[in-house]
């Protein structure tokens, strides 16, 4: 079984868990993901790996409570076990030969951007991190990013913390200041990744994005996670989840991401009701 050895609330909607999964911890690399099922009848949900400790045999996941499945996961506590936990899936992020990189994270996407920033930092690469949140209350992993970044730009939409503005404002400023990046790595909401890519295309800087589409098995069987990349159909689970951001059809990805929006809203409500009942 996959025991929760640590649970930490990062902000009102985002939770961190360290899960006991020694075989996965041994193989995991930044950029890869796991699929979990909280309980026996739960949905399968993919989450990109936020960190791992090969010695302790744990894998860290950070998730936003958005639907029934993540709500169920959040209802578990330290010492409880997840019913299923499978990985590491997908291809690791490529880090070879990178000397100077801008890592851009948006919201809970920062959880995925962090391990890559950390790996690049450990490899001796100069890392400029730009992290964006809606407001001060939602900020996560600030200290972690500080520890692995040569420069950290904290952005909030409402200016309640760091600098007011979007991650693209900060990135453009850094580029204009004369920073020459080998690569930009952007991880966050699809709309954010789209705008980062529009910006970096203008400056002709290679940009990698991490896609997190709807999927079931995560091993190349269901085809639900398909994306159009450079005019070709690609599967995020086996061809990705990292892709060349200048080739990804983001508008299509955004459309496909809303496939079950109504169902999700309904599931969230009924999960709330169920959990409330349990509390009573």
């Amino acid at each position: 079984m996959y025991k929760i050895v640590r649970k930490k609330v990062l902000n009102p909607t985002v939770t961190l868990m360290d899960i006991e999964a020694p075989l996965i911890a041994k193989k995991a690399e930044p950029g890869q993901f796991i699929i979990f099922r909280a309980k026996e009848d739960s949905e399968r949900v993919p989450l990109t790996i936020a960190d791992f400790d090969r010695d302790k045999g744990t894998v860290t996941i950070i998730f936003q409570i958005v639907g029934g499945a993540t709500m169920e996961l959040n209802s578990l506590n330290e010492g409880d076990c997840l019913h299923d936990f499978v990985g590491p899936l997908g291809k690791p992020s490529e880090t070879d030969g990178l000397k100077k990189v801008a890592v851009v994270g948006g919201g809970v996407g920062c959880a995925i951007a962090y391990p890559i920033a950390k790996k690049l930092h450990n490899l001796g690469c100069e890392v400029h991190s730009i992290v964006g949140f809606r407001n001060k209350d939602l900020v996560i992993l600030e200290d972690e990013f500080k520890n692995v970044s040569d420069k950290l730009c904290m952005m909030t939409d409402d200016g309640s913390y760091g600098t007011k503005g979007l991650v693209t404002n900060a990135l453009e400023e850094l580029i204009k200041e004369g920073n020459q990046y080998d690569e930009v790595i952007a991880i966050g909401p699809v709309i954010m990744m789209k705008f980062v890519c529009m910006l970096t295309k203008k400056y002709d800087i290679k940009t990698i994005v991490s896609m997190n589409p709807i999927m079931i098995d995560g091993t190349g069987m269901c085809g639900g996670c398909r994306l159009t990349v450079g005019g070709e159909t690609k599967f995020a689970c086996v061809d990705g989840p990292d892709f060349d951001g200048h080739l990804v059809d983001f508008d299509e990805a955004m459309h496909r991401g809303t496939m079950y929006r109504d169902f999700e809203a309904h599931a969230r409500e009924s999960s709330c009701n169920l959990l409330n009942k349990e509390v009573k």
């Binding site: 099922r37 499978v86 069987m221 999700e264």
Partner: protein, 466 residues
Amino acid sequence: MAINKNMDPKKCPMPVQDPMIRRNNFEEVALGYTYEMAVNEAKRCLNCKNKPCRSACPVQIDIPAFIERVADEDMEGAYKIISQSSSLPAVCGRVCPQEKQCESKCVRGIKGESVGIGRLERFVADWHREHCKEAPEMPVQNGHKVAIIGAGPSGLTAAGDLAKLGYKVTVYEALHLAGGVLVYGIPEFRLPKIIVQKEIDNLKAIGVDVETNMVIGKVLTIDELFEMGNEAVYIGSGAGLPRFMNIPGESLKGVYSANEYLTRINLMKAYLPDSKTPIKHSKKVAVVGGGNVAMDAARSAKRMGADEVYIVYRRGMEELPARKEEVEHAEEEGIIFKTLTNPVEVLGNEAGEVCGMKCVEMELGEPDASGRRRPVTKENSEFILNVDTMIMAIGTSPNPLIRSTTPGLETNTKGCIVTDGDNGLTTREGVYAGGDAVTGAATVILAMGAGKAAAKAIDEYIKNKS
């Protein structure tokens, strides 16, 4: 010894749920023979000396012998004969294309209908499950270890045969549940999952370990499986990425691969009223393709509440690759067959949802390399089929995870693992493969046949090595 032969030229019909009722539920369509029906049908077998049926069975079940036991009302004896050759008789009795295999060679089929071999196999397996409560005997261990990748029909067959020979077998399954296509693909109404579970429990009872949530090629490589003390590895990882047609509109919301649609319904139980699995509740559905998977998807869509379900297939009714029985059942349930029709574009509305499918009519031209007449587009035949969901059931290409992480494992241009002849040996010593991973999408029984052949080859390999 059965004396009275039953000379009825027709086989005893299979009792089925009424089509108007069953198209609204996921309970099994075919209800199975009664005891009397089975004994009577068994008496139709002439017990021919040269057993043409047996040689047409991919796992070589001694068919006349088991049928003779049924005629003699020795059901457990019949089961023992079947289980010498088949690890999953309750499954095969339900999903094998018997009319293309054993039953196609039956002598009774020359002047009438063949013996209902598949129905009898199913009866015997079900009888055993319902009446025999003894746990299977644990084989004597021989001290050798073998790893199997994939708990589908091929891997489970290889596991069963090797375990019976005394090997310590571990089956690694990527999903959270063992069974492969038997649990994610084939729907409940054709193969109740409790039957699959029982077959897997039987394997566990003879010492087979099944480890779920293990994606070989990712969490462990084949090289590591050898380091862990396994002396041979069998790859039965199955079909992989679903094929699409590469026509405009395939990324619209409401376009599914059959794998995804069926996995949501079967493995993830979206057909149950309180399921947490999201699925589109479609009104008008087009399933593209003409195989068993297409029939499963169409009949599932009907049961999920769709008003109109079409099978869209570019060749004619005669050319449908699906089992005849599945086609008949689909027709009875009101599935509309649009044959000689090919989609050219999926149409979407402003919300990015499917709102129609542009098709062309086809006609059959000269035979192609496969011997089947090639469909060609009729000029000016374009029309729009009014649908809100499109399910692609046009095949799969093998899973890339293992070939990309196993040095020395050769694959062909299609990505299928290359094996040497019938025993499943790959280009790596000690590594065998079979089923869809080798052949591309095929049937459960062919995958089982490959698992069986490989188990035999693995046994010989390990014995000669030590």
